[in-house]
């Protein structure tokens, strides 16, 4: 069907352009808020690419995890510390830029090498499973990829415990970074009745 192929080609072109321009915008824009929102756009376009590849479950998971969780968290953090301050000029900005550019170029050359050496075309049309993919992903997650799957959950648990320890300073008497005794007065005590202890 020629119409289907044309539509696919147009979608692919638009999505790739959005990804490229958006990613450049994330890196190059001065305003951190714009960068964060553009990052969301890039994540969405990547989900669109997955949809073009018939991987609808992966696309939805991409939207749920990267847009709905990661990007919202980033924007949340930016808005909670919404402080306008003049940043100090960095002295050795030139050398830093050179170093980061060279690292990025090395990574890019590595990716290009992978792209050139890997055989991308599917061997047979039976390999494309379409709607079946959800079931297959589930089977793989609970058989041969069980260990990475469980290890990832342990990682998330560690991050959660760390966040709780940092947030609830009343469980520790000393500040972790400075070693000074913690100022306990700032901690909100919502369990205390509001009207009785007003002195």
């Amino acid at each position: 069907m020629s119409i289907a192929i044309t539509t696919q080609f147009i979608c692919f072109t638009i999505l790739s352009l959005v990804i490229l321009i958006g990613a450049l915008g994330v890196v190059l824009l001065e305003s951190i808020v714009y960068s964060a929102f553009l990052l969301g756009g890039v994540f969405m376009s990547v989900a669109g690419l997955y949809l073009l590849l018939n991987a609808s479950f992966v696309a939805a998971a991409q939207v749920l995890v990267y847009v709905g969780a990661v990007n919202v968290l980033i924007i949340f953090a930016i808005m909670l510390v919404n402080k306008k301050e003049d940043l100090k000029p960095i002295n050795d900005i030139k050398s830093r830029r050179i170093i980061s550019t060279s690292i990025c170029l090395t990574l890019l050359s590595l990716l290009i090498r992978v792209d050139l050496t890997n055989v991308w075309s599917l061997t047979s049309p039976q390999n494309s499973i379409g709607e079946e993919s959800t079931i297959r992903i589930g089977e793989h997650l609970f058989s041969d990829y069980l260990l990475p799957f469980e290890v990832a959950s342990v990682l998330l648990l560690m991050a959660m415990i760390g966040a709780i320890v940092l947030a609830r300073r009343d469980v520790m008497s000393k500040d972790i970074s400075t070693g000074l005794p913690v100022d306990q007065e700032l901690i909100e005590k919502s369990s205390e009745p509001l009207l009785t202890n007003k002195n």
Partner: protein, 372 residues
Amino acid sequence: MEYGLDLEYSFNEFLKGFGLSSEIAHIIWLPLPMLLVLVAAVVGVLVTVWLERKISAAAQQRIGPEYAGALGVLQPIADGLKLLVKEDIIPAKADGILFTAGPILVLVPVILSWLIVPFGQNLLISNVGIGIFLWIALSSIQPIGLLMSGYASNNKYSLLGGLRAAAQSISYEIPLALSVLAIVLMTNSLSTIDIVNQQSGAGILSWNIWRQPVGFIVFWICALAECERLPFDLPEAEEELVAGYQTEYAGMKFALFYLGSYINLILSALLVSILYLGGWGFPIPVELIAKFLNVPINAPFIQVFTASIGIVMTVLKAYLLVFIAILLRWTTPRVRIDQLLDLGWKFLLPISLANLLITAGLKLAFPKFFGG
């Protein structure tokens, strides 16, 4: 159990009768269901707005809208027209691009989610395999639009409202997804069609509400919180935050928020009826009635009849839930933000987790009743 009308097939055959190729017939067909569902959503919003005004008036012993049409049925259209012709204001120090993009980002995912709402065996836009998961993924985009409009308004009330809205919808998404997961566990499928078919065995007795009472309540509370309806309308709490993230909005951009919130309410009601109340199913199975009346289920007349009964049942169940939501809005006080987050994280999350575990256990123990 593949019966029911296949409108797409008949339409394509009809166009092919005029000598069009099947590709062109398909392209002409594609926008029709989308337009139909969009119109249905907007008409649904008009009806809901009228209901909201009338029921709130009744709850407060007022008369409510009366002069625009009989019983004021044209009042929502008048409201919409007013918003349409109002001046579009962007505050001087606001961020123009983000200010405009915010309401769009709030509305578009909600409308996209209508893709998976079935009104009958074949009466939905697309039976995507990931079905209900698509809705969960799409509804997670909304907080970005809320944060965007809250930030771009350059107003402290807007920013606070946007932050509250995002915090609220993130914390209620988890119990919501977990209670949907329990249903999916029983159905063995993510598709909304399969979820309804799984409940169609014995009419009202086989609806999921009997097998998932806890999940039903958790889902309904979370859906209300996601829609920012009154017990949970913290983001736009008038007395504290003026109007939250919508403070600076006027005209059509405000109308987009308004439309978005009402479409979301109807969508949530529809999804509750699909997930827990048997979707398009009649309380007594239609096959049983057909057998009782001695008419073949595949007769064209019966099929049209079943399809229309299906649409009526879906809409009826959804509007019953909308009615409950409106009554709740006008009779309950608002919770505080810390109570809201406590309820979400310390009560609903453990309960929905336990519900999921129990469902999995019951599925293993009684595969006949809980989907083997």
